[in-house]
Symmetry: C2
Subunit: 418 residues, 2 copies
């Protein structure tokens, strides 16, 4: 039987959101700076809570990779403190006038950004997400409902307690503006996913299992951070050195993330001259190459690629490579196999670059630079909530703005509609 | 067993969308003007198709109101022709740079509007929607998949045939850019609602039954045009004549639409002096008044209001009226009973007006003017797709922009991420 905890938290969040939506930037930033200070001064408390999670994780046999993500080192606490201060220094999206104008009848219509209301985030492992999301929601005037993973329960609880104490120590931002769901059951997540009356936006941050649960069960509005089967297309007009540098960076700088390249498409006119050197360099960096017939004719060391390779987001040091006869063939390949996350073109021919930028159906397109720039920090958004692979509401890296919606405010002097 | 028609149409729409997304404004406008001309010249063909629908409707016992909505008069054909020309004259949202800037590493990042891709619209009765939606989708570079009601099958078919002929008569806009689903089964709608691979946005235009079906079954992205339980709050500082004029307009100018007022909230300091005259005038116009105890103490002719009245969107000449002790009480009432569509305040006190505009959680807020202005035409958007009562993607009246999404285009000179 589900506990009452989730709905109670959601109700209090809705009430808090009615207050936070009207807050000016100053009290929000003041709370963020106090939180950064409190966190900086509570390192021992946080690491000792974390030690309990780590002990349980070790005795539960969690993988070393997961234990690493769970671990709160002194440096990681400093990272959280820095992130909270960074959010405080960002411009407030609330109250931004997106557009406006006066109609022939004298009505002044302004489209103004305002908080969404209640933002729920369900996330896995890394406890810094608790602090990051709390900071982003506070700054954007939303009430946050957080649900971390059970493996990080003690750590997340300690961070949430600290936030609670900071909020209790002032009276402008309501105490319920940030709440953590401590019920670690799956039922609690399902209740949150269907709390339509209370949740204005839910963002899942986690692996494919979590995303699948959200896709299947959520009835609240959701923005999903999906797959990244990203391509780099090297045109006939590409600068060969730039092409090598970009594909090396896009594939090897951090292979496990969604903006890493998974498939390289090469125009046939440049393949013979450029491909062997580039693939040699990738191989030296430990990358396994899977190529189609034309690639293997040029560079026989490549393993044979199958259709499954075009479809796979390896998240590993593996690269699928295909030779194409034209820009159109590259575009068709991306339309067929891409996941609308991030796609890059390397070309000196302006017509090719412009056409690629316009024709590719993807949240982010990179011309003569690495797909790895698909990131809120690189885009100048400060912290990011995630990278949206959907088209509605937000597309690509999501910053504070993605936590707001617009309101149409019409100023009249007694006008009625005829 | 579901036919293959729907998926076949969706597939062709996806292929057409790959072409329409790259079209410049000129060929799109040229097709719209040819369509307007062709429609103007095909009045007899359209009205004779419509006569078949009308005959079936009469023998099927459809209500006179539905038959009226179904009827294609000469004036209504002129209205469609005008609407298509109006869409041609609107600015093209595609290619609009929403924001942009250069990062410290020299990357120029532009956020650019582009078509969503495949837009599906499911609608009821009025055949002009076929032409309106086709025009809006063509203009915004999307491929349209239309599904009208069976009652209008012959008329919608004739309009779609005409569009098909105009598209066949040129070679820039693909013939499959506008397609009508002629399978009138419920299964066809359900197939469309779940065609996740093909549909980028589905907009339902119709009554509560259709909206409910969409809410329950749609797995494709949807923007919903929901209820409008709209309030007018008359503050203590209101200009009494303006308050009367606005509530009369908001309630009586077109009671059956979602931006009509349903509840009047009056500050107690003005209620005694203003309410009797205002309610007398509303009664003269045929409006039934349902008031709380304090209203009935001032104006005994009012029927007693119950909680159900605060919750009801009458869409009729009925008005619920309540006296409130403060702006906060009015805001709390709207937060409890409003549907986040359109809310109005009448106040000369700037602090009250500004507070109301900021605090109300609604797509549109009207200060000293009628809720009836919540309309794409009045907002200057030309034709509207609907009025979104959700917060994500679009909020309030939706014009051409709501049929686009943004893409992040990053222009580099070989940058890689360090």
């Amino acid at each position: 039987m589900p506990s009452d905890e989730v709905i109670g938290i959601c109700r209090r969040a809705r009430a808090a959101a009615a207050v936070t939506r009207e807050l000016n930037t100053q009290p929000k930033d003041a709370v963020l700076l106090r939180l950064a200070e409190a966190m900086d001064a509570s390192r021992e408390r946080l690491t000792s809570a974390n030690a309990a999670d780590l002990a349980a994780a070790r005795s539960g046999g969690l993988s070393p990779a997961l234990i690493d993500r769970l671990t709160l080192t002194d440096a990681r606490i400093s990272g959280m403190v820095r992130a909270i201060r960074a959010v405080a220094s960002l411009p407030d999206p609330v109250g931004q006038v997106v557009r406006g104008g006066t109609r022939p009848n004298g009505l002044l219509i302004e489209q103004v950004r305002e908080p969404l209301g209640v933002v729920a985030v369900v996330y896995e492992a890394r406890p810094n997400v608790t602090a990051d999301v709390a900071a982003l929601c506070l700054k954007s005037g939303n009430a946050a409902v957080l649900r971390g993973s059970s493996a990080a329960a003690a750590t997340n609880g300690a961070i949430a307690d600290l936030i609670g104490e900071v909020l209790a120590g002032q009276d402008e931002v309501p105490a319920d503006a940030v709440q953590l769901i401590r019920d670690n059951s799956r039922d609690a997540v399902l209740q949150l996913l269907t709390a339509e009356e209370y949740v204005d936006l839910l963002v899942p941050r986690g692996g494919p299992g979590l995303i699948e649960t959200v896709r299947e069960h959520a009835t609240v509005p959701v923005v999903i951070d999906g797959d990244g089967n990203c391509h780099v297309y090297v045109d006939a007009s590409a600068d060969p050195a730039m092409a090598t540098s970009v594909i090396v960076n896009a594939k090897t700088s951090r292979p496990g993330v969604c903006n890493a390249a998974e498939t390289l498409l090469v125009h046939e006119a440049i393949a013979g001259a450029w491909l062997p050197g580039a693939l040699d360099e990738l191989r030296k960096l430990g990358v396994t190459i899977r190529g189609d017939e034309r690639v293997r004719a040029i560079w026989p060391e490549a393993e044979p690629a199958t259709e499954a390779d075009w479809a796979t987001e390896y998240l590993d040091l593996i690269l699928a490579v295909r030779v194409v006869a034209s820009l159109d063939e590259a575009l068709a390949h991306i339309a067929r196999w891409g996941t609308r996350n991030s796609e890059a073109v390397i070309a000196q021919d302006i017509a090719v670059a412009r056409r690629f930028a316009r024709a590719v159906d993807s949240g982010s397109v990179f011309v003569n630079c690495s797909t790895r720039f698909s990131d809120g920090g690189e885009f100048g958004y400060g912290l990011e909530i995630g990278i949206s692979t959907q088209k509605l509401h937000a597309r690509g890296p999501m910053g504070l703005e993605a936590l707001t919606c617009v309101k149409n405010v019409t100023w009249g002097t007694g006008q009625v509609r005829v």
